[in-house]
């Protein structure tokens, strides 16, 4: 992990206490993201993607506990910051968030302008301005952003309500909202699943352009490998709360190493010969095995797999390419 990393999550373990017991939702999640890069975090439903996002944003649900590991952002330990510090400088400020469902994320009874201005009022730097001068400065910045995300009629958009925009336009609004305070990191939670393919393509193009232009890094959470292939520089695969593989997107997709990644790529309709699924189902986080959680479904599992401590190791291809599997662990070879 170099000092230039914008965000680094290392060995993160989170458990959530509920009526049914303690769920070990994340078990050793590792990822790093440098300035201006786009990282795809891939995993199926229930793998802990949302918990990871919530941990970074500091909005873990009640009953959640960070058991081990750390989250560093711009050199600071996010897990040690107070609520006030997070609100003032991090959430909405240095870290912007693009939600999954553009239909749910906007309040239907307020105009778009009111909602965007509220973000600025709460999180943006004021540069010594006050009153109407401050409002005018905020408004000018928002209009410029709306224009940049190609929203038609950015001036007029201020006075309109969310229902007057289409799904793609609402997603553009939310991207502008996430960028309002010039963040260093954008977290996008499956922002295109609710959209059609042609609209999705436009949004992906936009995010790609913004990453280069505004020097903002994007953490893009998705279950769609095709979207990762199109947008992301690097990818990180999570299975049942464990990071199983990470590396440059092309390398991982062309030569997946971990048996789970291999199965996932083989499931993709563009690759599959027939429709191949993965036998079995995701284990319950209530009573996980201490070792590799994919072992019960893995064709190449050996006796020791259920007890190996999770640990991402670099592969010969380069230091960025890492995998957590006994197949690539010299010490575990018989």
């Amino acid at each position: 992990m170099s000092g230039a990393d914008l965000l680094s999550v290392s060995g993160l373990r989170i458990s959530i206490r509920s009526d049914e017991g303690v769920a070990r939702v994340l078990d050793h999640v590792d990822l790093t993201l440098a300035r201006g890069r786009v990282l795809g975090v891939v995993g199926e439903s229930g793998c802990g993607k949302s918990t990871l996002i919530r941990a970074i944003m500091g909005i873990l649900p009640a009953g959640a506990h960070v058991d081990a590991g750390g989250i560093r952002f711009e050199g600071r330990d996010l897990l040690r910051m107070t609520e006030t510090e997070l609100n003032r400088g991090i959430r909405g400020g240095r870290i912007g968030f693009i939600p999954q469902d553009p239909y749910l994320a906007l309040n239907p009874v307020f105009t778009v302008g009111t909602q965007l201005m509220e973000i600025m009022r709460r999180h943006a730097a004021r540069d010594g301005k006050r009153g109407s001068a401050l409002r005018a400065a905020f408004r000018a910045r928002l209009v410029a952003l709306l224009r940049r995300v190609h929203l038609p009629d950015p001036e007029g958009a201020f006075g309109r309500y969310p229902h007057q925009f289409s799904g793609g336009q609402r997603q553009r609004l939310l991207i502008a909202a996430a960028l309002a305070c010039a963040p260093g990191l954008l977290i996008a939670d499956e922002p295109t699943t609710a959209l059609d393919v042609t609209t999705q393509q436009q949004i992906l193009d936009l995010l790609r352009a913004l990453a280069g232009e505004l020097d903002v890094a994007i953490l893009f959470v998705t279950h769609d490998l095709g979207v990762v292939a199109r947008l992301c520089d690097d990818m990180s695969v999570i299975y049942a709360g464990q990071t199983v593989e990470s590396g440059p997107t092309r390398q991982v997709l062309d030569h997946p190493a971990h048996p789970y990644t291999r199965a996932l790529v083989a499931c993709h309709p563009a690759r599959a010969q027939g429709f191949a699924g993965i036998a079995g189902s995701v284990p319950s986080p209530l009573a996980p095995s201490p070792g590799c959680r994919f072992a019960p479904r893995c064709a190449e599992a050996a006796d020791g797999c259920a007890h190996r401590a999770p640990h991402l190791r670099p592969m010969p291809q380069g230091p960025e390419r890492r995998v957590d599997c006994r197949l690539y662990d010299p010490a575990a070879r018989p």
């Binding site: 799904g167 393919v197 769609d224 292939a229 092309r250 997709l253 309709p269 699924g277």
Partner: protein, 334 residues
Amino acid sequence: MSGDDLLAIRDLTVLLGGRHRWLRAPVAPLRAVDGVSLGLRNGEVLGLVGESGCGKTTLGRTLLGLQREAGGEIRLRGRRVSGLAPASARVARREIQYVHQDAGAALDPWWSVGHTLEEALRIQGLRSGTERRARVRMMLPAVGLDASAYARYPHELSGGQLRRISLARILLLEPRIVILDEPTAGLDMSVQATVLNLLLELRRRLGLTYLFISHDLSVVQRLCDRVAIMYAGRIIELADARAIFEQPRHPYTRALLAAAPRLDGIQPSVRLRGEPPRATAGAAGCAFAPRCAHADAACRMQDQVLHAATADHEVACRRWQELVIPAADISCRA
């Protein structure tokens, strides 16, 4: 359309909304389905592809009889089943069944799976509870569920299992034609594959014919024999799945295929601007013309109807012959 189609639609038009208001101008209805002609051949899987709002779900609901047609004709095995009151339309079209997009929402959370499945048989007039239970118990393994599912409630089941339940529910009614509305939406890749396998197996075993409504092109390519592309309430291209994917002729089809994410990460050569129109009240000209890179003045004046490009390939574009694009640029395969 040949005479031996299992289901034949001619010039089907469906109007949605619209109302007369006292002392004010009436609101014109939307032409959600606008003069669609389509034949469903015995035993085939016909894909119906388009973006949200293009009218594909409305078309499916109209075939089922949930939505009344405003014009045109529907024939089932040569027998006319259109122009009927809703209740008699449902009786006449008993052989057609529909699987809802959101399997979870389509099941009653307070009813056990067994109760839900038996209801369909009870409505059909099967009086004997013993026989109803026996039929349901036989159906569960057929959709890949074990007998314990009978006593379970929807919240205890996963997304993939819920799809199986909603399939079981309609298969109990012994349909010939099944309309599948986005049967894989919201499912993880590995689960999606098993559901698609099940659909193919059921078709073979029970001699079913599918109308497969989807916007996921990679799934359509794998599953469908023929594909109809829909835009703004009309079918704009209809051909064998192979022909659609290898030699798409309509500019919209080409843009749609190009926008679908592929694993090789190659960026699309064609990009669409703008968003799909809301169904209009019958404006003149090709509905795609405002977004089409090849549209000229005549395109905006003349309505486009499907005409045969080759024996088994119909396209609704007046310029398709001039628009030759190398196949390598548009192929959807990764």
